[in-house]
């Protein structure tokens, strides 16, 4: 037998020069059907690179030419961007539950009922101590000139209003603060306190009329709170840091278009239309199917576009805007639920009223995911605890069918709490796989039609740089 004729690359990598798409070391570009009359997408799932190609040109583009040449030059840079986004960030926010109690008994809440009825409440001294410990920790990980964020969350944080407000006052120069509230305890004094200090205020409201909103959000006695919340919504009109979260369930999903109309009419600048989290069994009873959710969600997005064209004023649907940004500028995303690993335990973490630390508020009712306690354990050690690494180690590459899904980095297969509790493990998908598929397809169609800016908050790309532009090829 003659000399060995098969050449092997010295670094052990495949010897292919990468001349062809989808073979050897060539770029992997998966076609994705958008439901658009003229365009289909090509996506490199690993780098989150995408291109929209006219249907009749797809074969020619895949065969080679300027797009592929330009992409080859950028692929390594895009891969590094995604690596840094997915694995290189440090925590810069805390979801802080100052009380386990709530004056409402919403049917889909992820905090167990027993905790909400009679759970612990953090004292003012303890809350200040907690904020001091967080301040000391963030000094070591957050770059100078940037403030870490504290979001008082619930249950209902204003049930512990004195302690919360004292903490905000004392640490007002050390954090950006926000409060997510059911609005029932937000009186004029509280509004004055929060708005004068630039604290973000998020209200929770699930519909445009009481008979729907009150189906899911009501007091322990069964009384709805729609009227109180809408009064507050009108009162906060014009405040920059004001927004509304609507949880989407079987009870309101068919009304999403009317709901965005109502929010827009009330000058809400930003809202979220969040699919109900299915972490705990009661919430699964009101989970809409993916197909129904996608149909009404995209109809509501269409409606926000019509409203913008008609009035010149946007209502940004933040959870969708974030998916759109994840396509246009992956590193500019704000919400870290739909990226893999998600932000839980690596970009933010949650603190319970007794100081226990969890990767995210979603896990507060699940003792297995307690990583330690703020008052007794160093935060760095908590971040590397088994409870946290279970979440931070959940990657789309380990999940079927995500590992072969072209849009896996526009979706992230949220949420780990749902995957674990509802679907049986961290290697399972979250609750709304097809819904995310439809959101991404919708987003790519908007880009094909040049409409994307109408769905994004003003100035979203203020600090970005262009790194790829097919117009320049």
């Amino acid at each position: 037998m003659g000399a060995q004729t098969i050449s092997l690359a010295q670094d052990g990598a495949a010897p292919s020069r990468g001349r062809f798409v989808n073979t050897g070391r060539g770029p992997t570009l998966q076609p994705v059907e958008l439901g658009h009359a003229r365009y289909v997408a090509l996506v490199d799932a690993d780098t989150a690179f995408w291109a929209l190609v006219r249907r009749e040109k797809l074969g020619a583009v895949l065969a080679g030419g300027p797009l592929l040449r330009a992409y080859r030059r950028k692929a390594a840079q895009f891969a590094e961007e995604m690596r840094a986004l997915r694995f290189g960030l440090k925590p810069s926010a805390v979801y802080f539950n100052p009380t386990a109690r709530c004056n409402l008994d919403c049917s889909y809440c992820y905090i167990p009922r027993t905790m909400r009825r009679s759970g612990p409440q953090m004292s003012s001294e303890r809350l200040n101590e907690a904020l001091q410990r967080l301040k000391d920790y963030f000094k070591t990980v957050v770059p100078k000139g940037r403030l870490p964020q504290i979001v008082f969350h619930g249950s209902e944080p204003l049930l512990n209003r004195e302690a919360v407000f004292a903490g905000i006052e004392r640490f007002r120069d050390d954090f950006r603060f926000g409060v997510q509230t059911n609005a029932t305890l937000l009186d004029e004094t509280a509004i004055e306190f929060l708005t004068s200090r630039g604290v973000g205020i998020g209200l929770s409201l699930d519909a445009h009329e009481a008979k729907i909103a009150d189906r899911t959000r009501r007091t322990w006695a069964g009384r709805g709170v729609f009227d109180q919340v809408t009064r507050l919504m009108r009162r906060l009109r014009g405040y920059d840091g004001f927004n509304v979260i609507c949880t989407v369930t079987t009870e309101n999903v068919r009304h999403l278009s009317s709901i965005v109309e109502f929010f827009h009419a009330n000058h809400v600048p930003v809202c979220m239309l969040n699919m109900v989290r299915c972490t705990l069994p009661p919430s699964r009873k009101v989970k809409p199917t993916d197909a129904v959710a996608a149909k009404h969600f995209t109809a509501a997005l269409d409606r926000t576009y019509e409203l913008y064209r008609r009035t010149g004023r946007k209502l940004v649907v933040a959870n969708f805007a974030n998916v759109l940004v994840s396509i246009l500028a992956p590193t500019a995303r704000r919400l870290m639920c739909d990226i893999s690993p998600c932000g839980g335990g690596r970009c933010f973490f949650a603190i319970a009223p007794n100081g226990d630390l969890f990767p995210c508020s979603e896990f507060i009712g699940l003792p297995k995911f307690k990583g330690g306690n703020l008052f007794t354990d160093p935060i760095e050690r908590v971040l590397s605890s088994r409870a946290f690494t279970l979440v931070t180690g959940r990657k789309v590459e380990d999940i079927e069918p995500c590992r072969r899904c072209a849009i896996r980095h526009f979706c992230g297969s949220p949420c780990p709490a749902e995957a674990h509790e509802m679907n049986g493990g961290m290697e399972r998908t979250g609750a709304f796989c097809e819904f995310y598929e439809e959101q991404v397809r919708y987003a790519l169609r908007l880009i094909a039609d040049g409409k994307e800016a109408a769905y994004l908050w003003d100035g979203w790309d203020r600090h970005t740089q262009d790194t790829f532009d097919a117009n320049m090829l």
Partner: protein
């Protein structure tokens, strides 16, 4: 002419773009952190 109208008119064969910035993503879907105007 608006970007949308321009794009319709030109009907490009390929649309592709990407931007980047320093990653600062911190939010979860329980609260909106989209704007920084409040502070």
């Amino acid at each position: 002419m608006k970007k949308e109208d321009r794009r319709k008119k030109t009907q490009k064969d390929v649309i592709a773009s990407r931007k980047r910035c320093k990653a600062e993503g911190t939010g979860l879907s329980h609260y909106i952190l989209m704007d920084k105007k409040a502070r």
